[in-house]
Every structure is written in C-alpha cells, then in structure tokens.
C-alpha cells in the first residue's frame, strides 16, 4: 500500500493536476462566476425573472442605444487604422533605419501608458481646447466628441501597436533581405514582399488589440466625448444613471464582441504563424539611405512632439495658478485636498500596484507554465488558455460590477475579501492578465522543452525545476511582467471605481474625482506624479535589464 501511494505521488501528474485545477478554479472564481452573475442579468427583467432575449430586442429597437454601438465601431475602427499605421511606421523607423536618437524615440513613445487615460484627455484639452495652446496658434479642431475620442484613443493605443511591431521587426531574418538584395530586388518591393508578410500576423494582432482597447475604453469618452455616446459610456449611463443593470449587462456582452471575434480569428492565424523564426536567422544590416532616415526622423519627431505636448499640456495646468486665466507659476496644486485622498492616495496606489505586480507576476508565470509546459491534461490546458485571453476584452467596469454582484453576497465564501485592498489587487491582476500571459508564454516557449523531460527522468519535482531553472531563466520576462502590472495598476480607473474602499483610496480614482470636481490642476498634478513614479519604475527595469545582460555576458565570455 505504501509503495503504491509513493509511486502515485512520484508520478508528478497528480501534483500537476492539482496545480492546474487550482489555476482554473481561481479563474472561475475571479472571472467566470462574476461575469456569469453580471451577464445573467442580461436575460432577466428588473424583477429577476428570466426573459430570454427581450433585453437584446429592446436594445436593438432603441435607435439611440444602437447609435452608441455604431459610434463605438466608428471610433474604434478609426483608432485602429491610425494607430496601426503610425505604430508600424514608428517601429519601422526605429528598427529598420539609421536615424539618430533611436533609443530616445523608442522610450519616449511609451509615455501614454504611464498616465491615466483621463489625463490624456485633460492634456488634450490644454492643447486643442478653445483655450488650448495649439488652438491659440490658430489651429482649431472640434475636440469634444468623435475627434477627441479618436485622438485620445490613438494616444492610448499607439504605444501598444508600436511595441507589437517593434518586437516583430526587431527580430527580422536578415537572410531574406540579403537574398533579395543579391537578386536585385528594389527596396520598395522588399518592403511589400518581405517586410509586410513578416509583420502580417502582427498587423492582425495589433489591429485587434487597438480595436479592443478603443472599443472598451471609458476614460477618454467620458471626459472628452461630450455627447458622443459609445458603448462604454452607455454602460456607465445604464449602470450609474438609469440603474438599469440588466441593460448594462446587455451592453457589457456587446463589449465582449471583439474579443470573441479575435479569438475565432486567432485560431485561424495562430496555426499558420508557427516556426517563422529559425535559430539560424542572421541580424539585419541596415543599409545607408539618408532620405529615408531623415524622413523617419521627422515623422518620429512629430509623434514625440505630440506626446510631449500632451505632458506639457498637463504640466502647464499643474504648475500654474489657474490656466489659462492666471498663468503664474505655483506648486500649490501638488498639495492635494486631503478629501480626495490627498497625497496618501498616491502612496496607496504604489502599495496596491506593488502588491498587484508581485502577486500577479507569480500567478501569471505559474499559470503560463501550467498552460505551456505540461504535456498532459490537454483539455484543461485549452480551457486555461481560453481563459487567459478573455481579460483583454473585459472592460474594467464589467469586472467591477461583476465583482460586486458576485463577491458581495453573504453566502459567498469569498465575501470576506470584499471591501479590502485584496479585491482591488485581484481585479487588477485579472484586468491586465492577458498581456503578461503572452509575455510569460513567449518566454517559456523559448526554454528548451527537454528540461521537463530531463527533470522527469531525474525525478526532479516540477516545482523545483520551476524555481531553480525556469524562474531564473525567465527573469527578464518576469521583470517585464512586474513592470507592466505596476504601471497598469497605477493608471487604471474603471476596474476599481466600483471597488475601492473608503480607507484605501488610490491616485487614479482621486484623479477622476478631481476631474469631476473641476480641480483640473490637481488632477494634472497627480497625473504628473503617476507619470514620474512609472518612469522611475521603468528606469529601474531598464537598469536591472542591463545588469542582467551583463551577467549573462560574463557567463558567455
């Protein structure tokens, strides 16, 4: 008997099954059940009775609600086209030209992800509003409404699109270009015939990411959208203006549409995307071409000027008494009213973001390891992978309201977590899960698959292999995940607006309150502080990366 138990335990699959089940169970609790609690409402009337698709019929019968849907598609498509094109060109400039200050351009374009989307809108108003700095130069645009939303979304999604293209273009296979060169293929033809096919899947992925982000964002339309209604504001109005949770749930399900579509299409493209990179790829040598370099330099400079202008727009508001009517310098806006949480909310944000980053990174890597590096339980792993991609499409507000409905129930065994900092951390971990999961999976895929076979043959338990080998080898990716979680948690609003606790207010919520209360200057000041801490974290990340690379080099020398 003892022997049998021992041999069973030694068969690591039992442990693996347990961990995998736990991971899936966690997702069921933190995502599936809250979503079910919310979406069940889409099929109920106010009395809680099941009414089938009546709410949907009512939705599609209501021209103004339907208009919000078309508006959303309109701004999301426009955003997608602009962001993807700009992101591609920008990444192309940095990876495939010899222009100057590439490193500077590469980091500066990330600015928008370091500040809350509400702050993008505040900055835009400083630039393009009636009293805007750029408007004063005679360049007038109709900022509030469709155009403002698109501008805001482009700012918000451009860094994401850029990062995706950057990764793809950076690891180009130089051999293809050398071959084309030797055949006398013209540069433009090379672009069409080699570069574009190389980034084809990135194009598709970037389009979905931009589209989904724009489709579900709430911060920009609420501030700068004016009366232009989109699904996210509609959801907000249904929930917080009309208290119609059932219709809100209907809108919530519609917000999931791009994700569902992305998933279907991803299944098609993914299978074709295998094995594009071989170990024998050679580094691309960039040819001399001054015209091209100057062109891209000008282009990248314009983009960066716009982004810096945005920060400038925030800065003038934060550092003047009452922009634009009293522009004398002051630091008074940094002494935040204690009642919006004061400076304490800033430190709370840091605390929450650190917790999110630490726990989130650990969770993501264990999760990705279970999904990627186990060769059994393929059905469960498929579920795990499916789960991992859903959060990307979940608007924060859907998560927030779902959490209230699910966790705030005395019969729920997890009820104790409600109203604690814990629920904010969990909501953040879930909200931002998809990107770190892809990072982690990518890093794990690069590790030799035979490590696992090796460890099985040596009876090294998987957890030991994970801690001793996988973790150290994935260190750069873990750092990246850590940073991503930290930065995202610092700027998020919508996921936690329904969940933050009275004793624990965070800076991004404070900004939305300051904005709502009209103290734009303090909102701008707080945004600058968030930008500052996020830039600091990014700097630390870059430094530790350099340090890590040096150590790797020493090992190779």
């Amino acid at each position: 008997m003892m022997m049998r138990i021992k041999s069973k335990l030694a068969d690591f699959s039992v442990g693996q099954l347990a961990v995998l089940s736990l991971m899936i169970a966690v997702f069921v609790v933190i995502m599936v059940l809250p979503l079910v609690s919310l979406f069940a409402r889409a099929f109920q009337n106010n009395a809680g009775e099941f009414i089938g698709f009546d709410n949907y019929i009512a939705y599609f019968d209501n021209p103004s609600l339907l208009r919000a849907l078309w508006n959303t598609i309109d701004v999301s498509l426009s955003t997608t086209v602009i962001s993807v094109v700009l992101g591609f060109l920008y990444a192309y400039g940095i990876t495939r030209t010899n222009m100057k200050f590439k490193r500077f351009f590469r980091y500066m374009v990330l600015i928008p992800i370091f500040i809350p989307t509400i702050a993008h809108a505040v900055g835009l108003i400083s630039l393009f509003g009636r009293q805007g700095i750029i408007t004063a130069l005679g360049f007038e645009i109709e900022l509030f409404g469709r155009l403002g939303i698109i501008l805001s979304h482009v700012i918000y999604t451009l860094p994401q699109a850029f990062l995706m293209f950057f990764v793809t273009l950076e690891y180009a296979d130089g051999r293809l270009y050398e071959a084309a060169e030797s055949m006398g293929v013209k540069p433009f033809t090379q672009l069409i015939k080699i570069t574009l096919p190389e980034v084809k899947y990135t194009f598709i992925n970037a389009m979905f990411v931009c589209f989904t982000l724009a489709f579900t964002d709430f911060g920009a339309p609420i501030v700068i959208g004016g009366g232009y209604s989109v699904l996210a504001t509609d959801l907000f109005v249904q929930m917080t203006g009309l208290f119609n949770f059932n219709m809100g749930a209907v809108v919530g399900t519609l917000l999931l549409a791009p994700a569902v579509l992305a998933f279907v299409i991803n299944r098609v493209t993914n299978s074709a995307n295998m094995g594009a990179m071989s170990a024998k790829s050679t580094k691309l040598v960039i040819k001399e071409n001054r015209t091209r370099d100057i062109g891209f330099f000008v282009f990248c400079s314009i983009v960066i000027l716009c982004l810096l202008g945005l920060v400038g727009g925030l800065a003038v508001r934060a550092l003047t008494v009452f922009f634009p009517f009293d522009t004398s310098f002051t630091l008074a806006n940094f002494s935040f009213s204690a009642t919006t949480g004061g400076i304490g909310s800033f430190f709370n944000s840091i605390q929450m973001s650190l917790l999110t980053a630490v726990i989130g990174t650990a969770f993501v890597f264990v999760y990705a390891y279970m999904a990627e590096k186990i060769d059994r339980f393929s059905a469960m792993r498929k579920i795990a992978k499916l789960f991992s991609m859903i959060p990307m499409a979940l608007p924060g507000m859907v998560i927030g309201v779902g959490y209230i409905l699910f966790f705030n129930n005395p019969n729920n065994p997890f009820n104790f977590a409600f109203g604690t900092i814990g629920i904010l951390v969990v909501a953040n971990i879930l909200s931002f899960f998809s990107v770190p999961f892809l990072t982690a999976t990518g890093a794990l895929k690069k590790l030799d698959k035979e490590f696992e076979s090796m460890s099985d043959s040596l009876s090294i338990p998987r957890w030991k292999l994970f801690l001793r080998v996988t973790v150290p080898l994935s260190f750069p990716a873990m750092l990246e995940t850590f940073m991503y979680y930290f930065v995202s948690s610092m700027v998020t609003i919508s996921a936690i607006v329904f969940l933050y606790t009275p004793r624990f207010r965070v800076a991004s919520i404070a900004i939305s309150h300051m904005h709502a209360e009209g103290v734009f200057a303090q909102a701008a000041a707080m945004s600058l502080l968030i930008l500052l801490i996020n830039v600091l974290v990014r700097l630390m990340y870059e430094l530790s990366n350099i340090f890590h690379k040096r150590r790797e080099k020493r090992r190779q020398a």
């Binding site: 009636r130 509030f144 109005v237 929930m239 705030n408 009275p502 309150h513």
Partner: protein, 353 residues
C-alpha cells in the same frame, strides 16, 4: 460682483416661517428617538457630497464623536447609487448621506431604506423630507440649475453677464455653439434642469419645444453635472448649465466666471440622508444621521449650499435680497419619479447623439 469670500458672509437669517409650519407637521416624527445614540463604533457612509466638503464635515463630526470611525465612500451620485443597488443583497453601507433624493427614491422603491426619524427632524421643511412617517429619507441641502458664465469669453461674443438672466437669454443667437449642458440620463443636474424646464414651460410640449430651441445653441451634452461649470471655468465653453456649487467653487479658486440663477426659478433636487435597511442596523449610524441634520452640520453645508433644508439659508452670492429657497420652483417629486424613464427616453429620442 465676483467678490471672493462672499459665501462666508453669513447674514442672520430671515425669520423662518418654516419653523412654525414644520413644528405643526412633524410633531409625530420625534417618537422613534428614545434609545440613546451610541458614541463609539465604526460606520460605513456612502455619500455624493463633494470631497472638500465631506472631509470637513467628517472632521467636525469626529471632533464631537472621536470614538466613531467613519469610513467614507465618496463618488458621484450615479456611482454611489449603483453601488448601493449592486450591493443590495448585502449592503456594505450603514447609511447614505448627501445623495440625490431622486436616487434615494429608487432605493426606497427597492425596499433598501429603513424608515428613521433623526433627532431634530422637526426643523426640516416638509418639502425636504419623504412623505412617509417616520421618513425614509431626510434632505439636507438642495441644488438647483445655475448658469456658470465665463466672463472674458462672453464679452468676446459682445455680451455682458447682465444679458444672461433667464432661460430665454440662452437662446440668443450670439451663444450658438457656446453652451454646454449635462446629459439628463447620466447627470442628476441635467435631469433636474430638464424637469425644471418642463415645469416652467409645460410638461406636455412647451418644455420640449423650449429645449428644441435651446438645442440650436448647445455645444455639447456631457455626462457630468459639474462638468459644464468646470468647462466654463477653464474657458472651454461660454455658458455651462450646471448647479451653483461648482460654479461658486471655481469662482473662489480664481476662475473668471459669474454664477447666474435664472430669474424664472430653477429646477432642483436635494441631497438627502437615509438609513440603509439591513439585518444588523448599526446603531452608530443613527448618531451620525442625527448629527447630519444638526445645526453644526447645517452651518457647514450652508457654506457651500445656499439652500439648506431648514430653510435658514441666509444671504448669498447670486441671491442678493432674496431667500435662496424662493429660487426653487414647485416640483412634484412623485410625478417626476413615475415619469423619469419616459422623460429620459423622450430626451434621448430628441437630443441623443
């Protein structure tokens, strides 16, 4: 006209007729208060009162009741209300404080409010409390439609503040594309403005006709009640249809704005308090509710809100020589509550983007 600190000018109030009326009406309200209010505990309070004000109020409360810990959840009326509704199964809040009465009526319909007569109820004007006895909610302040006007921008259009006194003035052709108004579906202020216009110009058609004409001049309908005031303050619009408080706050902070209360009267709503119905009612919540209508609290509300529910408002910027309560038009809250959805649908049909 735009003196700083005008709010602080507290004039001894007019003799309040209300005291008499209320004394007669509310005699029965006081009998629920026999149990002593505890002076220690922890309470969770949901409120839509502006941060600055709410913070000061809680400080003052704690000076009197240092052993009661107040956990404050502050957000916009909409968010607070939907949070309460979402939490209906297991209310986290012990009480809701300073949140739109129109929202509290929604909660009342859902059976979420516990009838409770706080001490000192007899001082509250009848128009500012629920018609139940003991009342399900008790008002503390009212807020009312106001125009927040950016003076330099207005003058750039060739107008002066004196040109904008009443609703009709908003129809001036110079103002085309220069007025921002809140969306009534997402803003309580927007809703009370729409209701006010319907009461003033006619529920059946006159109100809508006026809004159609106003629509020509509207730059945008936005999702926040204070937003139009704030936009006017930074010059992003010329006239923001909003309510008094944010306008006066911006004025004090140095924004070049004037706050105008329309001559014909304002649509209004009140911020009210209520005890949340749940299995274990927190006794310290009642201490807070008692204090929340005390003179001490009212005095602080009054710094920001000309209209407090005792009617003892005093003299105010924008209400020179007038009792601010008189600014409020007559409104039938029952009619409003029953027609809320129809009004919003009609508005959405006409003006939704």
């Amino acid at each position: 006209m735009c003196r700083k600190g005008s709010l602080k000018v507290r004039v001894v109030c007019l003799l309040v007729m209300a005291t008499v009326i209320v004394g007669a009406l509310v005699g029965c309200g006081g009998n629920g208060n026999s149990e002593a209010s505890p002076t220690s505990g922890t309470i969770t309070v949901y409120t839509a009162i502006e941060n600055v004000l709410a913070g000061r109020l809680v400080e003052t409360f704690n000076a009197r009741y240092p052993d009661i810990t107040v956990n404050l959840v502050r957000d916009s009326t909409g968010v607070i209300t939907s949070r309460l509704i979402a939490e209906a199964n297991n209310p986290q809040a012990d009480l809701v404080w300073g949140t739109a009465a129109s929202s509290l009526m929604v909660l009342e319909d859902m059976g979420m409010l516990e009838a409770h007569a706080p001490e000192g109820l007899d001082r509250i004007l009848p128009m500012f409390r629920s018609d139940k006895n003991p009342p399900t909610w008790v008002g503390i302040t009212a807020w009312e439609t106001a125009f927040i006007i950016n003076i330099p921008e207005l003058e750039a259009l060739g107008l002066t503040v004196d040109d904008i006194r009443c609703y009709e003035d908003l129809l001036r052709p110079e103002l085309q594309g220069h007025i921002i108004m809140p969306n009534p579906a997402s803003s309580g202020t927007g809703f009370l403005t729409v209701v006010g216009l319907m009461e003033l110009y006619g529920r059946d058609g006159g109100g809508w006709d006026f809004m159609e004409r106003l629509d020509v001049n509207i730059q945008d309908y936005i999702h926040s009640g204070a937003g139009p005031a704030n936009m006017a303050a930074i010059g992003e619009t010329v006239v923001g249809i909003s309510f008094g408080f944010p306008g006066i706050s911006r004025l004090q902070e140095g924004a070049p704005v004037a706050v105008v209360f329309p001559e014909a009267g304002s649509g209004w709503d009140m911020e009210a308090n209520a005890l949340i119905a749940k299995d274990n009612i927190n006794p310290a919540a009642k201490t807070f509710l008692n204090w929340a209508i005390s003179d001490e609290a009212m005095a602080i509300y009054n710094e920001a809100f000309p209209i407090i529910s005792t009617g003892e408002g005093g003299s105010y910027y924008g209400f020179e020589g007038q009792n601010p309560v008189d600014q409020l038009i007559e409104q039938d809250f029952v009619w409003i509550a029953t027609n809320r959805e129809a009004i919003l649908n009609e508005w959405e049909r006409r003006f939704g983007s």
